[in-house]
Amino acid sequence: MNLLKIKKPKLRQRRFVFLTFVLLLFVGSANLAAQNRKITLSMEKVSLRQIFNAIEKQTDYKFLYRDVILDNKKDVSIKVEGREITYVLDQVLPAKDLQYKIQGTNINIILNTIHKNTVSTGTPITVKGTIDDETGQALIGVSVIQKGLPGNGKVTDANGIFSITVPVGSVLSASYIGYLTEDIVVKDSKSLKIRLSEDTKTLDEVVVIGYGTAQRKSIVGAVDQIGANKIDDRPVSNLTEALQGASANLVIQQKSMNPNDNEVNINIRGISTMNNNDPLVVIDGLVTNLGSLNELNPSDIESISILKDAGSAAIYGSRSSNGVILVTTKKGTINAKPVIKVNAMVGYQNPDVLVKPVAGFENAILKDEAAFNTGNTLPYSPAQINDLKINGAKSEWFLNQILQNALQQNYSASMSGGSQNSSYMVSAGYVNQQSNFISGNSGTYGMDRYNFRTNLVNQYERFKLTTIMSYTRSESNAPNADVGNLIVDGERIPNYYYYQQKAPNGHFLINDVLSQFTPMGSLEAGGYNKYDTDYLNGSLTGELKLFKGLTAKAMMGIDLYDNHRTSRSEEVPYYATADATTPSILQNPNGSTSDWNQKYYTINTQFLLDYDRTFDKHHVSGLLGMSNEAYNSYSNDIWMNYVDPKLGTPTSQTTAIAGNVGGDTTPMGTSVSDIESLFGRLSYSYNEKYYGEVSFRYDGSSKFAKGNQWGLFPSISAGWRISEEPFMESYKSNIGDFKFRGSYGILGNQNINDYQFLTTYSTYNNTYAFNGTSVSGTGYQLGNPLITWEQSANLNVGFDASFFSNKLTASFDYFNKVTSGILIYPTEPSVLGTAVGEQNEGKMQNQGWELTIAYHAKTGDFNHNVSFNIADSKNKVLAYTGQQQINSSDEMSSIIAVGQPYGSYFGYKTAGYFKSYADIENSALPVGINASQLAPGDVKYVDVNHDGVIDSKDRVILGNAFPRFTYGVTYQVDWKGFDLSMLIQGVGERSEFLRGELVEPYQGNYSYTMFQNQLNFWTPTNTNATWPRLAAAGSTSDTNNYGYSSQVHMFNAAYVRLKNIAIGYTIPKSITNKIGIQKLHISMNAQNLLTLSPLTFVDPESTEFGNNMSSGGANSARSYPTLIYAGFGLNLEF
């Protein structure tokens, strides 16, 4: 049997091309004028590549070509002496259907296009063949055509077999989505065996889009697809973490690394609304909520599509204005042997605390200095300071005592395969991440997640049934304490030997500075909050091919959360001294038990008609659908005080006193809403060159009053693959593909609370009392019957380009979004006296760009993959009620003002520190502060309006907390079974406002220690200092220096972080096969190994701003520490 298998390009040539690329990039061609242009060659029966190599050795010429065009060429012989390059090439090339072009020292070798399309006229014969992939699985539906005569084509059947009649000598071209196209010359009627190799990053890549799929080359919207390879093998406890840095303008901020509260912000293309900025999440066609991403088993993910622009997202209409995340899970393959995969990762999370307190005696000296500076009594005598110094070794920082390294384990196993009519994928996973807080009575803190999934596809002739059933159980055991409090109570206690959290006899101790409770007592004995979630995501989809090109599809799914929390607040006694017999104070004195239950589910039903036909060069596809999403949420809760301290069960105290039992019943915890939709899409393309698409969605929502419920969200997009034009032929052959694309559309947002259009009266218990009996009270909120959809007009333009036979791809997008009618709770004057429901009052613009570059190459045995993305978005408020609103929390102020980025930091500019008393006298001072109360070294503010006083009119924009210039770099390389991968992720520009003890020394008589990052303070001999002079807490200087929203609190939170690095090795098959293992891969992993940032004492990624830039303060200094992970991984395949 004549195996006409196409040889893979040899490694050497790949390396050659790579080197060429490197040369082009780094050396440039300026000095590469060929010194020796005469060529002498004498070669017998060698390949063209060998000839090219020989020429390169003699000259400075470099050959550029797509590997594939030199494949399958006959060997040639040549004998020349001292000839010009053109002569040599003319000798070898014409016969080979190839052309050359010399540009400087580069010689481009391209196909001879005139010759290419020549149709063979040999005797017609019928050839049969089978087509399979690299794993030996038959490929169904591969199109096999006679080259130059596209009308003569066949498709492989269920066994991968085709039969075609062509003239002898003609070329067959076998192409299949996601695979490299193979060309075979038909010599005789012997049966062909064609093997297609997967093409992971080409124009034929299948991309999941709304309600369907499309080939990469036909995509005209801004769509990014993240493949499983970016998610697998990352030691992350949830999917969102794995997506960080994976796609341009998919901005992910991990607000806290606490395993019990893995709060993450996800924004696509930044802040476009003052309302909720959460993207819409769709898992296997089923609309769900953002949190569901983290309930998935990352190993189950086949791909994740990020729909960023109106063209791609408008099909999701009313919920799509913040972008859409489409998750597709893995399915089995028809006619495939079972494959079993097992993954395991085990490692430790080590808390990386960035601040360090000063030594105890140093702190006492500094505290005296602060008091001295402001004329207060010195709190420490020299004897006391000496005592602290002598006993310094006995002290331990409270924070170190409550943190520990914590184990993290990820395991998953799956089995997939298929028979002739059905395929399956069954998987299970387990993740366990322990908390870094110490624990005690309440068991180890941390989280566990169990995943189970069955994806089945059954096909019978024209009917296909897809059944998806996925179940997740998450359990979390968290301390009954606020994390910020635990951290700050650990941080703010000075290193004095006499401050101890626990006596040797087990008594928890309090002291004069930590007088209510200690973090150790809270963690070891204060109780717990145990959360558990059962999450079910299941759907049934029936598809029926009605006639050619037209498919009807009906889907019904449920996305169900069953959430439960049980909490115990346990009484903890604290003692003044180890030998005290009665406690000084009780933490949680009314020891309680509480339970909360919520059932939240969405029933989604869809009916779709899908049309897809190709008529010669015309490709038409259309989609018409209707959908209903019914949201239902029911919750109740109950709590009891004074319960049995051991079991948490009621005692007579619990029941005897009114008010010791309480809670909410289901009617108070019910929320029901509904969205009904009609949607469609029509796309047309001509000759894979011109693309046009329109889509629409017509949505009705129960969140609005009758008459305002329905909204239409249309979009139009177009693309032009200019590289397909005849005049670009040589560009395409020599450089690659190029496509322009653009879209415009209107997207919607209705992410607000239910019933806002109604004036609602709520009754509260125990509002007042008469004669010792409590009574209820009623408050109300004014509704606004006029509210309706937010609308965002989206413009997107971009291009996709590929270079060096797809080795390098680049994609760029610019977008401009204007969102109007933004639903906000308006700030009405408080003289109105009541809260007002949301109104369509805001308008803002958001524009930005994205650039993604990917490169993959082989050099020798090295296989490199590099991808880089960078993006920016910048928003501006265009309209707002009352023009502006200032929100303040503690010292921090932020502003929403027309013409400015949404939620910018707002406050006073500083002009360094006062240099002298005369400087103070001659400067504007904050209202109420007299020159006599300040001293040199205190903060000087800028009198912006020159009215001689620092007051609210002097405030300006100080910065913004939303990350700008976000980027991610992924590098993967493998060599002879070894592999290395790296993810670097960063933010180019971001401001962060920090208040509290890490900034202000001895803040508010609340913090009692200074930290090493605060030591560069102003003194008469250190005037070029980072911080103002030390001043006693509560003094006017202290208020002046730290009491305002000012630049003193502003920090540059740009950073670059080595998010992940992994080194692995695949044991050679020859060894593993002996023990029945197909693949055995071992690896070492590390996360967050290195971070570079100007902000050194707080994790620059931490933020207290949520997805809509709302925040409850500026206490990032109190967030859970950054975790550095190090561990091992194992992948097994049978």
């Binding site: 000084s584 010791n660 509002t767 009491g1043």
Partner: protein
């Protein structure tokens, strides 16, 4: 084959049917809340709105924070009150904005009640009239609070609309007072003099008249203060409760001296400020505020002399003996007693070197920085973290007597009879027995008496939230809120004779007698204007 496909069609059609039947409706209304159309259906529902108005009349946090604005207390931790009392507040200070919005919030509740109560079917007419009068009293009290703090404020008697709220201007202080007084007059006519059973604690005609007296007092309108107070005194409803300390005990709530209070119930509706006021060994959290030496010094010796008077018998090294018994009832001093839940009494040692956790520690933010702790209103029946159900008295009869005494003196009418009816009665109740302390002295000038009455007022009403209004109307704030406040004599002897010197205060008489119109409100409504100096 055809049949097979029919089966599939049936499958598809049935799924479509499921789609059409499983929808929620697009028209949803809440299940846990009423809407405007459904709420006003019963007397109970109407009374809940009135209850909300009571809740908004006055809160415990303002009750204790108001005292922190005065020279009676020193605030340890950063707070708006500390900024205000230090003279470094500005128009963005949170307290100003909160006071403004809380008062107008309560006013809206009252207006909503008054505008909708007539929608309630078959409501008892007498009850309705009384409830309307209660609402009008509460609304008047809130406008009075507003105008006392801010001077000119927006005034209206029906709910305003959103557009109106953005253009409304301030009415003059005089117009607001006029409205307040006329509302109190008409409320007094419809309100009963007293209540029985479950209604005890509601506002009475006596409360309306007493509050009206206060509106005159704050204007130094002495003649009207005297006549209005006389109305209360001649009604013979109120009398001094025999036990001064017991006035503030939960067992004696609604006693004969209480004219208006804020009502609480143990465990159900409680306040817990003492969690941050109590001494360490009582299990406090932190120390938010504590009495100053200046307050302690105000208390007379048992013989009626000021501690500074020659021959008063005051011993600086043993300062708390032979003092006005109200000192021990109001302030916890070194070696004072502290009642704990369950009936035990602790002796609290604050003096440095006594070796207890209550000891004064320089610079500590969790122990008192003045060497004193608050005591009045500390309630040993609390549960949990100082959750107390003790009522907080807003107006009591002693206050009426003191107002009357002050007015009579300012009118030049202070005489033996007025003295006996007011100051003497109050001192006798406090526990004074020495005739020098109790009896009127004809040699006293009007000015002497002014000092005596003002000091008496400070001692009697300390920590009840009235001092700040007194020093403002007397215009003495500019002296008593200027300079260093002090704590006990636990400091270095080189500074201020050893009395702990605390954070310096300044008071700008051209600005600080009024709160600033909140900046954010000015931004939303350009017609509001601003008070001088802000």
């Amino acid at each position: 084959m055809k049949q097979k496909f029919r089966k599939y069609y049936i499958g598809v059609i049935s799924i479509i049917l499921v789609i059409l039947t499983s929808c929620n409706n697009l028209d949803q209304i809440p299940t846990g809340e009423f809407t405007d159309a459904t709420y006003w259906y019963s007397t109970d529902k109407a009374s809940y709105v009135l209850n909300m108005a009571y809740n908004q009349m006055m809160g415990d946090s303002y009750f204790f924070a108001n005292e922190a604005l005065s020279d009676n207390l020193f605030v340890t931790r950063t707070s708006d009150e500390k900024l205000i009392s230090s003279g470094i507040a500005n128009a963005t200070t949170g307290r100003f904005a909160n006071e403004w919005s809380d008062c107008y919030g309560g006013i809206r509740t009252c207006n909503t009640f008054l505008e909708n109560v007539d929608r309630v079917p078959a409501m008892d007419g007498t009850l309705k009239a009384r409830m309307k009068a209660e609402a009008r009293f509460i609304r008047a009290s809130l406008f009075f609070r507003l105008t006392t703090w801010f001077g000119d404020v927006p005034l209206f008697s029906t709910n305003i609309t959103v557009p109106e709220s953005k253009t409304i201007a301030r009415s003059s202080h005089a117009d607001v007072l006029k409205f307040v007084r006329s509302e109190l007059d008409s409320a007094a006519l419809s309100l009963p003099a007293s209540y029985t059973g479950a209604d005890i604690g509601r506002v009475t005609s006596g409360a309306a008249i007493s509050l009206k007296a206060r509106t005159y007092l704050y204007e130094n309108d002495w003649a009207n203060v005297a006549t209005t107070c006389q109305q209360v005194m001649s009604s013979n409803i109120y009398s001094l409760f025999p036990d001064y300390a017991g006035l503030f005990a939960i067992a004696n709530e609604h006693n004969s001296e209480v004219i208006l209070d804020v009502e609480y119930v143990p465990t159900l509706r409680t306040w817990s400020e003492y969690f941050d006021f109590a001494p360490p060994s009582a299990g406090r959290r932190v120390n938010q505020q504590s009495p100053t030496q200046e307050l302690v010094d105000n208390y007379l010796m048992m013989n009626g002399d000021s501690i500074r008077a020659t021959g008063s018998g005051y011993v600086e090294s043993n300062p708390y003996v032979n003092r006005d018994p109200r000192l021990a009832a109001t302030v916890l001093t070194d070696s004072g007693t502290w009642a704990m839940p369950g009936g035990t009494n602790l002796i609290i040692r604050i003096k440095p070197g006594t070796g207890t956790i209550d000891e004064y520690i320089s610079g500590s933010g969790n122990n008192s920085l003045t060497g004193y702790y608050m005591k009045k209103y500390s309630d040993p029946t609390y549960t949990g973290s100082f959750n107390s159900g003790l009522n907080l008295i807003l107006i009591r009869y002693a206050d009426v007597l003191l107002m009357y005494a002050e007015a009579q003196n300012e009118l030049g009418k202070m005489d033996q009879a007025t003295w006996d009816e007011t100051i003497k009665a109050i001192r006798a109740r406090a526990g004074f027995t020495d005739t020098n302390a109790l009896e009127f002295n004809v040699a006293w000038t009007q000015s002497d008496l002014r000092t005596i009455i003002r000091n008496e007022r400070r001692s009697e009403l300390a920590l009840e939230g009235t001092r700040i209004f007194d020093i403002r109307r007397w215009k003495t704030a500019q002296s008593v809120l200027n300079g260093y406040p002090h704590g006990a004599k636990y400091g270095p002897s080189t500074v201020d004779n050893g009395y702990i010197r605390l954070d310096k205060r300044t008071f700008n008489p051209n600005r600080d007698y009024l709160f600033a119109v909140p900046q954010a409100q000015k931004d939303l409504d350009s017609n509001l204007g601003q008070n001088p100096g802000y």
